[in-house]
């Protein structure tokens, strides 16, 4: 086969602009955040690295409550999104003339940002929202106060609803793209041998799409964990998610608080990195033992 002969440095040369930006901005930000959280902050006159801030923050109730709240919201919304998304992707595979649906689903979540998703959840789910008005006309409630608090609530219901709205189309598309590429003759052969629809789904489509379902889950989990707008706009005053907590501490102008803020921000990074490592480990175990 004819192949370009190329200098061994050529790919690195091509990559250099991207690498410079990623090193300086992204890795730089991660490393600076880490060093600030360890109390290395020359601008403030802090130059002795210490774990003091970590110990203090990690043992505070405020942080722990936020951690639990954040993990609960991200986990619940990621699980629900994945299940509903996979279900719809499979349904989408089975019907004809779906280009318009796909086009709509593809554009919608990309174009509508988190802020507007929050507004829409607000318009629908607050006590004076459209759902509560329907409930009144259906005779389910008589006063505005009888409608349950679905937004700004301690269970993060409104936050989860906004994430679902924003992320289900993402999962549908990601899984649908993989489903579409699966050879149709697998299904035909299985059906021929007497497999039911649910068997076809469980034994053929599910295993073949499992890796992409896994990555979709991880991406949306990490995304909701680090996302700020939705929990800020729809969350309760207490507990706050880690991202909101970090933001509130960050904008308070007291610079001596900065290392504490950076501990919270860096903890967010650590959680996502640990998550990815676990995920990769599971993937490699699966491929090694053919689970």
């Amino acid at each position: 086969m004819f192949k370009f002969r190329f200098n061994k440095w050529y790919p690195y040369l091509l990559l250099s602009p991207a690498l410079i930006v990623l090193f300086l901005l992204f890795l730089g930000g991660v490393i600076l955040g880490l060093s600030q959280s360890l109390g290395y902050f020359p601008v403030l006159g802090l130059e002795e690295p210490t774990f003091k801030y970590y110990l203090e923050v990690w043992s505070s109730t405020e942080f722990l409550n936020s951690l639990v709240f954040s993990l609960f919201i991200s986990f619940t919304s990621a699980i629900l999104t994945t299940i509903i998304g996979v279900f719809f992707a499979y349904q989408l595979l089975k019907i004809k003339n779906k280009n318009r649906i796909i086009n709509f689903l593809y554009k919608l979540p990309i174009i509508v940002p988190h802020i507007i998703a929050s507004l829409m959840v607000f318009l629908i789910l607050t006590q004076s929202g459209i759902l509560s008005r329907f409930a009144y006309h259906l005779g389910l409630i008589e006063e505005i106060a009888e409608f349950p608090r679905l937004v700004f609530d301690k269970n993060g219901f409104g936050i989860i609803a906004a994430y679902l709205w924003k992320q289900i189309p993402f999962v549908v598309l990601m899984v649908y793209t993989v489903l579409k590429q699966i050879n149709g003759s697998f299904e035909a052969a299985a059906k021929n041998l007497g497999a039911s629809n649910s068997q076809v789904f469980r034994e053929i489509y599910l295993p073949l799409t499992a890796p992409s379902i896994g990555s979709a889950f991880i991406i949306i989990f990490a995304f909701s964990l680090g996302s700020f707008e939705i929990p800020y706009l729809l969350g309760p005053t207490y507990p706050q998610t880690l991202s909101v907590l970090a933001y509130k501490k960050y904008i308070s102008l007291d610079l001596t608080q900065r290392p504490y803020t950076m501990v919270i921000a860096t903890s967010l990074t650590m959680i996502t990195v640990i998550l990815i490592m676990i995920y990769r480990k599971i993937l490699s175990l699966i491929s090694r033992y053919h689970l």
């Binding site: 730089g28 554009k107 829409m120 921000a265």
Partner: protein, 268 residues
């Protein structure tokens, strides 16, 4: 079999409805006057929100322009960086490729909030904070992973045969790029461009932190409106936002992409 299909369609259209209904609600709120609980339809309709939006004193149109300028600049820089990077990742094998891949995708997973807070103080020291250039630079963090990935897929699909052919026929590097590579990668380039522009256009937190309240993009005005629960005005601003993003997308699709080459680009 026929019945089954109907039931599938109902489920799917229910999903579409669930996703479209909030947008309809937004539309009604944007034109509503008084709309107290428990009315299902507004008592009166008005254009008050739109008048507020157009009034130059409120700076909405100006901030929209700021958003577009920043978005276009970010798109241009990101694509400029992503074309060679995508070529390297899509066509060549080299030592350290795995590590580069992780570095490229990492910003998708690591919260941008944490990265930006870490880098903010250095932006201040370098005089980049509170300036356009600083905001543009920080927008590169969330946009680069997407566009490098799309360009990598594009080059993978393309291979290097066409360029090799041109080289055999004696075309120089610049000629090869302009006449061969650029037209061939243009569909991927436009998908990436649309995505990058919209990500930049939607940024709130990064612009707020690095722009320090001096760089007023459209989301800077939208966020407080949603936060204060001003439904009518927030709905007006949201509609303008969605319309602006849609117009940009359609312009890119209609004007720049050859319809014959238009395919689905589900690169996520």
């Amino acid at each position: 079999m026929f019945k089954k299909n109907i039931y599938r369609k109902i489920i799917l259209y229910a999903l579409i409805f669930l996703f479209a209904f909030p947008l309809l609600l937004l539309l009604v709120w944007a034109f509503s006057g008084r709309w107290p609980w428990p009315n299902l339809i507004a008592e009166s309709f008005s254009l008050e929100g739109w008048r507020y939006f157009i009034d130059p004193a409120n700076g909405a149109v100006e901030s929209l322009a700021t958003s577009v300028i920043i978005g276009v600049a970010v798109t241009f820089i990101t694509l400029l960086i992503s074309i060679p990077a995508g070529k390297a990742m899509g066509l060549y094998d080299f030592p350290g490729k795995g590590a580069v891949k992780i570095l490229v995708l990492a910003p998708l997973i690591v919260p941008p909030l944490a990265v930006t807070m870490g880098i903010h103080i250095n932006f201040m020291l370098l005089g980049l904070a509170d300036k356009f250039i600083g905001v543009i630079l920080v927008h590169l963090i969330p946009t680069l992973p997407y566009s490098i990935r799309i360009m990598t897929h594009t080059f993978e699909g393309l291979g290097d045969k066409f360029e090799a052919q041109a080289r055999v026929l004696g075309a120089g590097p610049l000629q090869r790029f302009i006449h061969i590579t650029l037209p061939l990668i243009s569909p991927g380039l436009f998908s990436a461009g649309i995505l990058v522009f919209i990500i930049s256009f939607s940024q709130y937190l990064l612009t707020f932190l690095i722009g320090g309240g001096r760089i007023i993009t459209f989301t800077m005005l939208l966020f407080p409106l949603v936060n204060s629960g001003d439904r009518m005005l927030a709905a007006v601003y949201s509609l303008v936002f969605i319309a602006a993003a849609l117009i940009f997308t359609l312009l890119m699709e209609r004007v720049l992409v050859n319809p014959a080459e238009k395919r689905d680009h589900f690169y996520i």
